[in-house]
């Protein structure tokens, strides 16, 4: 099992190396095939590991080597294969394979396709390192790797200003989150002298409640950065600037799930702090709701999906906050299926219209896209929570846990469910029904995408339909929940009467139907936003403006002040010119390097003189 588990990580690395070193010789198709095969190999290795795990039924730590060994800091590099890591790996590698396959069609003819696949493989590798790591530091390496890759991929079209600045924004927001992870690591190491998960878990009970709360809050900060939660959620919609398969990869399988994963992984620490968990739940609930409202007003098809991701991740964080880890994971998997489906479907739509992303210039595409349309239909119904698709069960699991633990959060969740159905229906109607508005700007016939793009759509559609089977509420054994339970510290036990369960399910369905009907009635024959949405939601609750007003603008004016007043007289020498200062001192030093051998000898003699003077002073004292 150890060797197979190692293969999970090594395959993408191998693909990365192959593409890196043969980049100039590989055709773009060749690079695609190599990269896709590598990730597929990783998926197969995961399946084998999974099979082996089912026979052993114990979590395994695979020690690779002693990475850092300095005094009390002992960090081995290793893999920790437990149900949580396996589950993550399964859907990360599986969905990544499909996205790789899809990219071969989507990116065909783009420049630097090799580089694209290079980053893609590295991305998957980093995510697997993150997930399979047996200690926090190694997770951090993967965490940073994912961040760096997302930066490269988001600013892939770096000659577009918006793409470059979106990349930077993603990077900066992530850095803020990283501080959280670093702080958590320092705190843990300071108190427990270890960064290895299993040791942390066994020692966690020795942490004082205050420390535990601090650690949980630091972890939450980390998660808000990576998983795009309030207050650091803004980068994710901007990250749409990258190519669509990248969006799918970031949103569905990797990256954004990392934050939730981290929280779930640290569940034994979370268990120690009720306040910390409550904060998590509130942040998650708020994000889910706020992002959903924003999604109702976006014009760009990918922006809607982006905010929908933020909202769905909010659900997961909410579930983690109330201790329903199983439900969070269930939603994560279901979300991976249907969000990948929706993104790839939207990519197919954009592809058919040669890059058009504005929904106002779409409409009536159903008949042109015979495969994309039905699969997208399934995706839409799944995320809206229509039974018996995966979304219904997953969201149901979250909402059921919420109902038992906190009625207010449950109400918020249900409201968000209505909004979800609403904005997704709006998106669907604007894209596939109604008049063919694209005729105004697009000349020619939209065409269906090639098979490499549609096959992943079909597979993902099938998964979205069947995903609910993972955790049906009336199967008490052999469900995802029981499979995962060894990885969780404590699971919120939600023992509820089947009658209540059924009525909750009915409530979910009603929420979905309300959203669907509202959207249908509103958007059947219009395509412009009403006033309220336009002014507030479309502008992301003025979130960027708020940052701009509270942090950006004061800083700008302060900068202007210092630029005109302070800088010239005071700071110029110290701060602003530190680079040029360094260059100047460098030039000064290099003048000493005059080429005259007697100057060099003089420098030596003066050096000796300093030594002698020091020694005389030492002896004299």
């Amino acid at each position: 099992m150890a060797h197979v588990a190692l293969l999970i990580v090594l395959f993408p690395l191998l693909g990365f190396a192959l593409v890196l070193f043969n980049g100039s010789e590989l055709s773009e198709r060749g690079a695609g095939i190599v990269a896709t095969t590598a990730v597929f190999g990783s998926f197969v290795a995961t399946l084998v590991t999974f099979y082996l795990y089912l026979h052993h039924e114990t979590a395994v730590t695979i020690h690779l080597f002693n990475w850092i060994s300095a005094g009390t800091l002992q960090v081995p590099a290793g893999l920790y294969v437990d149900p949580l890591a396996l589950t993550m790996c399964l859907f990360v590698t599986g969905i990544s394979t499909l996205i790789h396959l899809y990219s071969m069609g989507y990116m065909a003819g783009d420049r630097d396709v090799c580089k694209f696949f290079l980053y893609l493989n590295l991305f998957v590798f980093s995510m697997l390192v993150l997930v399979l790591s047996d200690n926090l530091l190694q997770t951090f390496v993967g965490w940073e790797g994912v961040g760096a890759c997302s930066y490269w991929l988001v600013s892939y079209y770096f000659d577009r200003d918006s793409a470059a600045s979106a990349g930077k924004k993603a990077f900066l927001y992530n850095r803020v989150g990283d501080i959280g992870l670093l702080a958590a690591m320092f705190l843990l190491f300071n108190h427990l002298h270890t960064l290895t998960y299993t040791t942390i878990f066994s020692l966690a009970s020795t942490l004082s409640p205050t420390t535990a709360t601090l650690i949980v809050l630091a972890l939450l900060l980390a998660a808000t950065g990576k998983s795009a939660q309030i207050p650091l959620f803004n980068w994710l919609p901007d990250a749409m600037e990258g190519p669509t398969p990248v969006s799918a990869l970031i949103h569905a399988a990797t990256m954004v799930t990392a934050g939730v994963f981290l929280l779930v992984r640290m569940s034994p620490v979370l268990a120690l702090s009720a306040n910390g968990r409550a904060t998590i739940a509130v942040i998650g609930g708020l994000t889910a709701f706020v992002a959903a409202t924003i999604a109702t007003a976006q014009k760009d098809i990918k922006k809607v999906l982006a905010f929908s991701t933020v909202s769905q991740i909010g659900y997961m964080v909410l579930a983690v906050g109330v201790g329903a880890y199983g439900a969070a994971l269930f939603l994560m998997i279901a979300h991976a299926f249907f969000k990948a489906l929706l993104f790839l479907g939207s990519g197919s739509v954009i592809h058919s219209l040669h890059g058009e992303q504005d929904m106002r210039r779409m409409g009536g595409l159903a008949k042109y896209l015979p495969l994309t349309f039905p699969t997208f239909l399934i995706g839409w119904l799944t995320i809206s929570g229509v039974p018996p698709l995966a979304g219904f069960w997953a969201k149901g699991a979250v909402l059921t846990s919420l109902y038992a633990l906190n009625k207010a959060l449950y109400a918020l969740g249900l409201l968000t469910a209505i909004l979800t159905a609403y904005y997704m229906t709006r998106l669907f109607v604007l894209t596939f029904r109604g008049n063919e508005r694209f005729r105004e700007s697009f000349h020619g016939e939209p065409h269906e995408s090639p098979w490499v793009m549609t096959v992943p759509l079909v597979i993902l559609a099938a998964l979205s339909v069947l995903g609910g089977l993972l955790d049906l509420p009336w199967l008490h054994q052999h469900t995802l929940e029981t499979f995962l339970s060894p990885s969780f510290a404590t699971t919120a036990v939600v023992a509820q009467s089947s009658g209540l369960q059924i009525s909750l399910a009915v409530a979910d369905v009603i929420a979905a139907v309300i959203g669907l009907l509202a959207a249908f009635s509103l958007w059947r024959d219009r395509h412009e936003n009403p006033r309220l949405e336009k002014s507030f939601f479309e502008q992301v609750w003025h979130w960027d403006d708020a940052y701009d007003a509270t942090i950006g603008r004061p800083l700008t004016s302060l900068a202007a002040f210092s630029g005109t007043v302070i800088e010239e007289r005071v700071i110029d020498a110290a701060v602003m010119g530190s680079a040029s200062r360094m260059r100047r001192s460098s030039e000064g030093l290099s003048k000493l390097q005059s080429g005259f051998v007697r100057h060099y000898a003089l420098a030596m003699v003066l050096g000796v003189a300093v030594i002698v003077v020091y020694l005389v002073a030492k002896v004299g004292s």
Binding site: S590, Q593, S594, G595, F596, V597, R598, A601, L602, V605
Partner: protein
């Protein structure tokens, strides 16, 4: 009573200083090289003076090795001087300042 070794030590230190100063101020490679020989001889004198005070032959043997090294160094050093200045009319090291920065 004979002159103490200390006098010779001071003499050696002064000789070392003269050699050192010559190395820094003379421009001919050959004369700079001679100055290094002066410095080595100052060292030899120091060794011998210490050998006398310590009544130990080790210092004298050290001088022997310093001389061997000096001979080897001179052979190679003058070889380099010849190789470098064969086609020139002066041996000034200040002309060798192409490499810098």
């Amino acid at each position: 009573m004979n002159v103490p070794a200390a006098w010779y030590l001071v003499l050696a230190a002064l000789l070392f200083g003269v050699g050192c100063f010559g190395f820094l101020t003379r421009r001919s490679a050959i004369i700079m090289f001679m100055c290094i020989e002066l410095m080595l001889n100052a060292v030899n004198l120091t060794f011998v003076s210490f050998a006398r005070t310590l009544s130990d032959v080790g210092g004298q043997v050290s001088v022997f090795f310093v001389m061997v090294v000096a001979a080897a160094e001179v052979t190679v050093g003058l070889g380099i001087v010849v190789a470098v200045f064969r086609r020139r009319t002066s041996t000034s090291v200040d002309e060798l300042s192409e490499l810098k920065g």
